[in-house]
C-alpha cells in the first residue's frame, strides 16, 4: 500500500499533495480548537503508536500473517481529524526514516491511507455502530468492518492512481514512464491482496482492539460514539468556519472545469453506440484499449439501453448556451449543487431523527 518513489509521476504526486493539504489544514485547525495545548502530545503519541502497530505481524485465519495500518483504530479513538494527522505523521516518518513509501509520494500515501482511509473508516463505523452502547458487540463488528472497508477504499484509490499512469505518462517510444500497469491490471492486482490478507488484518486488529478497550478502558471509545463524550475530534460538522478552505477548493475546481475540454476523444468505456460505426472513433477506441480493436457492431445491450434515458444537459453542454466553457462550468455548478442539496437534505433528516431519539430518551428517564 505504501507507494514508493518512481511509481507515480511528479504531476500526480503534486496533485495529491495539493489534495491532501486542505485536509491537513482543516484537521490541524480543528484539533487546535478542541485540544488546545494537548494537541502536540496527543497527536505525537498516537502517531508513535500507529507507527509501532503497523509493524505488528497479525496472525490470520489460514496460518498466514499480515500488517495493518491502524487507520480505523485511529479514526475510532481520535476521530477523523486526529486520525488524519496521526497517520500522516507516522507515514512521513516511515518515508523519511525507513524508506517505507517514497518521499515524493508522501502526499499520495497520506491522501490514500490517512485521509481516504480515516474518513471512510469513521463514516462506516458511525453508520454501523449507530447509537449502540459503548460495550455493545455491535461496536466490535462495526469497528472490524470499518477497518476492512477503509483499507480497501484506500487500496482502490491507490490502484486508480497506479492505473492512470500508463494512460497519461508515456515516453517517445510509447513505454510507460511510471507504473506500467493499466487500470485493468492495477485494480485487480491491488484489490485481491487487500480484500483477502490486508483487509482481514485490518479487520482483526481494529475489531480486536475495540473489544479489548470495551473491557479495559471504554472511555477511549467515547469520543466518536455519537453525542460526544469527549470533544477530541470535533465531530460536529457545524463548525463551518473550519470548512472554508474546502469550499474555496470546491469553488476553484468548479472554475477550472472547462479544462476538461482540452482532453481529446471520449473517456475509456464512455462510448456511444454510434462510435462503433465511425472509423475515427473506432481508431480512438482501439488506441485507448491497448490496440484491441472494438467489435464490428455496437454491443446489443449498449444499443438497447443508450436511448432509455436522455440527460437534461447532454455532454455537459446545455443546449441554450453557445459557449462550451461556460456550459461546462455551469454543468459543474449544477451537478455540485445537486450533490450539496442531497447531502444537506439527508443531514437534515438525520438531525430530525436524532432529535426525536433524544426526546425519547428524556421521556424514558
Amino acid at each position: 500500500m505504501h507507494v514508493p518513489d518512481g511509481y507515480l509521476s511528479p504531476a500526480t504526486c503534486a496533485a495529491l499533495y495539493a489534495g491532501a493539504a486542505p485536509f491537513w489544514f482543516v484537521a490541524l485547525r480543528r484539533l487546535e480548537r478542541t485540544l488546545h495545548t494537548r494537541l502536540v502530545p496527543r497527536v505525537s503519541l498516537f502517531a508513535a503508536f500507529s507507527f509501532v502497530v503497523m509493524m505488528f505481524n497479525i496472525p490470520l485465519p489460514g496460518g498466514t500473517t499480515g500488517h495493518a495500518v491502524g487507520m480505523a483504530l485511529a479514526a475510532i479513538v481520535l476521530g477523523p481529524a486526529g486520525a488524519i494527522l496521526a497517520i500522516s505523521t507516522a507515514l512521513i516518518i516511515q518515508a523519511f526514516f525507513f524508506g517505507d513509501g517514497g518521499i515524493t509520494a508522501i502526499g499520495a500515501n497520506c491522501f490514500n491511507m490517512a485521509i481516504v482511509g480515516s474518513l471512510v473508516a469513521f463514516v462506516v463505523y458511525r453508520v454501523l455502530a449507530g447509537r449502540a452502547p459503548l460495550d455493545s458487540p455491535r461496536r466490535v463488528v462495526a469497528a472490524g468492518l470499518a477497518g476492512y472497508v477503509a483499507i480497501n477504499a484506500a487500496a482502490l484509490v491507490t490502484a486508480i492512481e497506479f492505473g492512470l499512469q500508463p494512460l497519461l505518462f508515456l515516453d517517445a517510444s510509447g513505454a510507460p514512464l511510471y507504473c506500467p500497469y493499466p487500470l485493468s491490471v492495477a485494480v485487480p492486482a491491488m484489490m485481491i491482496g487487500h480484500l483477502t490478507i490486508a483487509g482481514i488484518a485490518e479487520l482483526v486488529l481494529t475489531g480486536g482492539v475495540v473489544a479489548f478497550l470495551q473491557r479495559t478502558d471504554p472511555a477511549l471509545l467515547a469520543a466518536t460514539a455519537g453525542r460526544g463524550v469527549m470533544a477530541i475530534a470535533g465531530n460536529s460538522a457545524a463548525a463551518s468556519g473550519g470548512l472554508r478552505p474546502l469550499w474555496i477548493t470546491l469553488g476553484v475546481l468548479l472554475v477550472l472545469t472547462p479544462l476538461g475540454l482540452l482532453a481529446g476523444g471520449a473517456a475509456w468505456g464512455e462510448w456511444q453506440a454510434s462510435d462503433f460505426s465511425d472509423a475515427a472513433s473506432r481508431q480512438a477506441i482501439a488506441a485507448a484499449s491497448l490496440g484491441q480493436p472494438p467489435p464490428a457492431t455496437p454491443p446489443r445491450g449498449l444499443e438497447r439501453f443508450s436511448s432509455t434515458w436522455t440527460a437534461p444537459l447532454p455532454d455537459y453542454a446545455p443546449p441554450f448556451l453557445r459557449s462550451a466553457p461556460v456550459g461546462y462550468a455551469l454543468s459543474a455548478m449544477f451537478g455540485a449543487g445537486l450533490v450539496i442539496l442531497a447531502i444537506t437534505g439527508i443531514a437534515a433528516l438525520l438531525r430530525v431523527r436524532q432529535r426525536a431519539g433524544t426526546a425519547d430518551d428524556t421521556v424514558r428517564l
Binding site: S9, L45, I93, A175, L177, L220
Partner: protein
C-alpha cells in the same frame, strides 16, 4: 541490539525482530550522522534541499541513462561521506529494488509494443517498451531510495526536522514529528518487552484465535499506554511552562562549503532535468 541475523520464527518472533530492526536502524542512523564524512559536515538545510532536488530530478527524468547517472551520483556521495555502502545497498536499496523488480517483471510481457523476443519455456512475448518501462521503474526506485537514505544516514533526525522549518513547514507539525520520533523508540521498546515477556511465559503452540488475541491485546495495551503517556507528557510540558506556543532554536549557519554543495546539487539536478526531458 547486535546486528546479527536472527532466525525467523513465528509471528511473535517476527514482530519482535521487526521492532528490533527498527530500533537498530535508528541507532545506526544516529551513529552515522555523527561521522566526519562530506555529507555529515554540511548544513542540514543544504542536505535536505540538495537531495530533494536530486530526487525530483530522478522523478522528472524521461531517460533511463539519466536516472542511472543520478543513481551513480548517490553512490558517489555515499562513498565520499564514508557511509556504510554495504548496509545501504544490501539492507536498504536491494530489498526495495528486489521488490520493485518483482513488481516490474510482468510489465516486460504485458506492455504492448515492438516485439524483441520471447521468454523461454512459457513463450511469452517480450516487448522493447516493456523492458524500457521495467527499467524506468527499477532504476527510479533504486536512485530515489539511495538518495533518501543518504539524508537519513547522514543527518540526525532532530536536524532534519529543524531543516524542515526552512521550507515553511508549520512549527507545530515539526514539533509533532520530533516528539513522535522520540516516542516511537520508547513504544518500540515497550512493545518488544511485551512480546518478549509473553513469549517467555508461553509453553507449547498457541491456537490461531489465541495468537490473534495476544496481538490485539498487545496493541490495546500499547494504545492505552500511549494515551496515558500523552497525558503525563502534557502535564510535564505544562509544568515547564508550556502554553501552546512552540519555538525552535534555529542555529544553523551556512558556510562557504554549504553554498558550493547546494549549488552543485542544484546544478546536477537541473542538468539531469534538462538531459532527461
Amino acid at each position: 541490539m547486535s546486528g546479527n541475523v536472527r532466525p525467523r520464527g513465528g509471528f511473535a518472533e517476527r514482530t519482535v525482530n521487526g521492532l528490533l530492526e527498527a530500533m537498530e536502524r535508528a541507532m545506526l542512523a544516529e551513529t552515522n550522522a555523527a561521522g566526519t564524512g562530506w555529507l555529515q559536515r554540511l548544513d542540514p538545510r543544504v542536505k535536505l534541499a540538495g537531495l530533494l532536488s536530486l530526487v525530483t530530478a530522478v522523478a522528472m527524468s524521461h531517460r533511463a541513462e539519466v536516472i542511472a547517472a543520478l543513481f551513480g551520483v548517490g553512490i558517489a556521495i555515499a562513498i565520499a561521506s564514508r557511509l556504510p555502502l554495504s548496509t545501504l545497498l544490501s539492507g536498504v536499496s536491494l530489498a526495495t529494488v528486489a521488490f520493485s523488480s518483482a513488481l516490474a517483471l510482468p510489465a516486460i510481457f504485458l506492455t504492448p509494443g515492438r516485439t524483441v523476443g520471447t521468454a523461454p519455456v512459457v513463450g511469452w512475448t517480450i516487448t522493447a517498451q516493456g523492458l524500457t518501462t521495467a527499467g524506468y521503474l527499477v532504476l527510479r526506485v533504486a536512485a530515489t531510495t539511495t538518495l533518501g537514505f543518504l539524508l537519513v544516514f547522514s543527518t540526525r533526525w532532530a536536524h532534519v526536522l529543524k531543516a524542515l522549518r526552512a521550507f515553511r513547514v508549520p512549527v507545530v507539525f515539526v514539533v509533532i514529528l520530533g516528539m513522535t520520533y522520540r516516542y516511537i523508540l520508547l513504544l518500540l521498546e515497550a512493545a518488544r518487552d511485551m512480546f518478549d515477556a509473553r513469549r517467555s511465559r508461553t509453553v507449547g503452540p498457541l491456537t490461531g484465535g489465541e495468537r490473534r488475541r495476544l496481538v490485539t491485546q498487545g496493541a490495546g495495551v500499547l494504545l492505552a499506554k500511549s494515551l496515558h503517556l500523552s497525558g503525563e507528557v502534557f502535564l510535564a510540558m505544562q509544568a515547564r511552562g508550556f502554553r501552546g506556543e512552540v519555538y525552535l532554536l534555529d542555529d544553523f549557519v551556512m558556510a562557504r562549503t554549504d553554498w558550493i554543495a547546494l549549488a552543485s546539487c542544484a546544478g546536477v539536478a537541473l542538468a539531469a532535468m534538462w538531459a532527461g526531458r
